[in-house]
Symmetry: C2
Subunit: 431 residues, 2 copies
């Protein structure tokens, strides 16, 4: 009998966690990802803000499985899933599966305003982060050259839409760079006068954190000069700035050279390829064992899955949740490869174990929420740094990231202040 | 009397060396560069071959002059020079000067075949290096997916045109990656069978080195599996490969997925804006003091200058030469700011001091040419590494580069194996 074939879509936290367990199973594994690298998402904002280099938070996926000949990594985009024929398709090939793990994650959602995308890039991939880095560094360079005061003001105005962890971390990092790293480098512009707006549609920042910590984050950000606007929505975004609508203060126009999107997300469209129920974010609603209703051989994991666990609580879209789901599904499959298939009901139910929630705001400023234990300030910041270094893949990445952070802490400098991705001489030939 | 204004065009080795001396002079300095960063060119090939990250070999220019309020750095491209009015122009502004230092460097020259450019990118900037990295890593990814044997062979065929230091270093690094770093990562393609051709129009590699060392490099490369073709020219380059013409063996077609250009260079076009004599590479022919004939207040430095020094020898286009020229011109100017102008004849003549010439070929393989002393192999390789780390700007870059090298040496892995620069979600708005 041939070994069972397991197809994994996505090399994020969920897909990798599953592959790490399944590589030891008596099975052939094919892992698809559109990128050649796994990204440590929680530190992506540091690449966007010139603190770290891309290679410090990303590793080539195939290298993680170099010693496992039963794992094949394919850098390809999945274009279709046929759950009846048990096959996934790409542009040029197809792969049969006995088990399928869908862990393709989420993408930006502009709430139906896809025309905002060019003016307000989001942060999901290394390329997104480099585009953000390019834009914010270039804004200051342009402000330095600008002689018109109003235009210069707009060039040093940054709007971040979305008050979740990504928005908060971006706003904090930008504020620190503008006030601490850059001022003495510029002659014609006072970067410490940079205007940073963090705009959130809901009544508070960091909805997944305890309210007291979210308020602490708001106060910390305000202390760093960030203007936090709650209950405020973007009504339109263009190349010159943003029109807002606030419940309290009505309409407002802000001219801004740089706008970042940290608000809406939706499931990758491949989720609709599975004959399953999708929630309003396009996510696949799974059973308690994480399998797709009607298809016990198909699992949806990580951000692309809507999971209500055995406690009746929805699992949040964080790295931990994705990893735990990957491990859970992989263990079910590994067990069945040995002992034969079971019905979804006979399988163990997924239980999310919340190990806590952290966000950093700036130098010596962070918050950490461990249920009953809540900490903020310097202790939370040190803990945040320690945990994030510990979870980075590879000794080299851990070491170099620590060096970069210590260097930044001492010198106030950012290690990767490069503007790249400009029009190059070498245009790519049509591919 | 107002302080004299000194304009420097280019933040490469020549421009920076000059600025470092002049920043202490009683003068206003404006440094123009089209990039926001200075690049340590000798290690650019390591970024192209995934060994180092861009930020390890590049530093933001303005940060180098943060504590010098008399130095203004402008990220702008010079579009014109008026030597009569003593003014340089950019798209949106102009700057008057009392002294002008032109150190804009060189760009690729395709010998009149600019249509080759998209198929054979060269290596001058960080963006060039990232484009090379993207292409060579993507070739292996595509080969892994390819089922047609001939196409797979073409995808794992790399042609490097030009047998100078850049071509030799690229060929050696690619050979090592293919045979040492990648093999166990791939399932469908045997990367150790990668074909690498290094093609040189002249009768030998490394024309600026002693012949015995160049021959040693050729033998080392051949031992690593690189096919070295001498006396061979590209006749045409397209998306599928290269047509060669060799003096000995006639015409040959090589199907290759990736072609890199390390052959021709020419002076940046701004050189033609100066009313001076240009040689066939477009360089400005300068007087013995490095000033432009007829304009004692204008100097041309580095690769953009053709310099025949007091010994009657032409200064080679290397980092050392550029740095020495920058220092020489800056000292003349600093002296004149204090004691008044002199005629070019009364100024000291530039003398290039050759401190030696080095190139690395691979692991424990390098050559170093110090005139009478010539070394090769492990000692040359250690010396090469030591010297290059020593000349990197910034303690952090030195430290992290050393760590990357030690890591690569021990593990055979490359630290920056990321494919980036793909079509991003966020298309840039028209700029």
């Amino acid at each position: 009998m041939p070994r069972p074939r397991i197809v994994i879509i996505g090399g994020g936290f969920a897909g990798l966690s599953a592959a790490k367990i399944l590589r030891r199973a008596d099975a052939e594994i094919v892992l698809f990802d559109r990128h050649n690298h796994h990204v440590f998402q929680p530190l992506l904002y540091q690449v966007a803000t010139a603190g770290l280099s891309p290679s410090q938070i990303a590793v080539p996926i195939r290298n993680l499985f170099a010693r496992r000949p039963n794992v094949e990594v394919r850098m390809e985009e999945i274009t279709g899933i046929d759950t009846d024929a048990r096959v996934v398709r790409t542009d040029g090939s197809e792969a049969k599966y006995d088990y399928l793990l869908i862990a393709a994650g989420m993408t930006h959602s502009y709430f139906g305003h896809d025309d905002w995308r060019p003016y307000a890039p989001g942060l999901k991939s290394i390329d997104d982060a480099l585009e953000m880095r390019r834009r914010f560094l270039l804004s200051f360079e342009r402000a330095e050259l600008e002689t018109d005061e109003a235009k210069r003001r707009a060039l040093t105005t940054f709007v971040i839409i979305g008050g979740g962890p990504t928005g908060v971390e971006l706003a904090g990092a930008l504020a620190e760079i503008a006030t601490k790293s850059l001022p003495s480098d510029f002659r014609n512009v006072d970067t410490s006068q940079t205007r940073i707006l963090l705009v959130e549609g809901g009544p508070r920042l960091l909805a997944t954190f305890d309210e007291s910590l979210a308020e602490r984050a708001r106060i910390d950000l305000a202390g760093m000069g960030v203007e936090v606007r709650l209950n405020t929505f973007a009504k339109s975004i263009d190349a010159q700035g943003v029109d807002f609508e606030s419940k309290e203060s009505g309409a407002e126009r802000v001219d801004a050279g740089t706008v970042f999107w940290a608000a809406g997300v939706k499931a990758e469209s491949i989720a609709r390829n599975v004959s399953a129920q999708n929630d309003k974010l396009g996510r696949i609603e799974v059973l308690k064992d994480l399998s797709v209703p009607g298809h016990p051989e198909v699992f949806a994991l990580g951000d692309i899955a809507k999971v209500v666990d055995a406690h009746g609580k929805e699992t949040p879209g964080v790295a931990q949740g994705a990893m735990q789901m990957g491990t859970h599904a992989a263990r079910i499959i590994a067990h069945e490869i040995k002992d034969g298939p079971r019905s979804p009901k006979a399988r163990p139910a997924f239980r999310y174990k919340d190990k806590g929630n952290m966000a950093t705001i700036g130098r010596r400023r962070a918050i950490a929420d461990f249920g009953r234990l809540k900490i903020a300030g310097m202790p939370a910041w040190l803990l945040w740094a320690f945990v994030h270094v510990a979870f980075l893949i590879g000794f080299r990445n851990k070491l170099i990231t620590m060096i970069e952070w210590i260097y930044s802490y001492i010198t106030f400098r950012r290690g990767a202040r490069l503007i790249t991705g400009q029009k190059t001489d070498a245009a790519s030939p049509a591919e």
